[in-house]
Symmetry: C2
């Protein structure tokens, strides 16, 4: 069993968001996805992001207002959201007090089956 301690993980700053990428754990291809934690401070938002990887996110602390595909959806603590490949998104933390912490796994989608 291996533990990944969020409090001890190295982070980098991306705009106002603190990002702890799991590449630091040198897992190679043991996971079928890449992973990170990210923290959005109170009253802040993530920069707009858009990437070919599908992304599954779990709200670990706080609550997320996820803006994607022309709508904003509230995702509370414990719940999850899945972003499609190339679906642009912004994650807002509307709390004025509590940080928003998210765990995300992301991976390239499987190629469509041959016709």
């Amino acid at each position: 069993m291996r533990k990944f301690d969020k409090g001890a993980a190295g982070t980098c700053q991306v705009d106002r968001v603190e990002v702890a990428r799991w590449e630091q754990f040198s897992l190679g291809d043991r996971l079928p996805f890449k992973a990170m934690w990210y923290t959005v401070p109170p009253s802040a938002s993530s920069p707009r992001d858009c990437h070919p990887e599908v992304e599954l996110s779990i709200v670990v602390s706080g609550s997320a207002a996820v803006e994607a595909s022309g709508q904003i959806v509230e995702v509370d603590h414990g719940s999850a959201f899945l972003l499609d490949s190339n679906e642009a998104h912004v994650v807002h933390n509307r709390s004025t007090e509590a940080p928003l912490v998210v765990f995300s796994a992301y991976w390239m989608p499987a190629p469509a089956a041959a016709g």
Copy 2:
């Protein structure tokens, strides 16, 4: 974007553990893993489990005392733990008040590369 609402998910009881398996979301092979939330009540433990799938778990609420491979490791809220294929494990909630909520992703390990 698709939301998975933990509070609205269907659950089943496995011993004292409440399990919400993601098969209910009919994602087919959109994710490269299977997934679930599970909740261990205060002062309870999960039944001993052992399976060929590798399992990555994120502690969403509370704190986990994870027993595996002859040791018990504390994994706090927000942190994560990775169980190897066929590594037997028991997850204890030592809090007398707070439930322990975990999100787990699990998948069959890739076959070893041909020699």
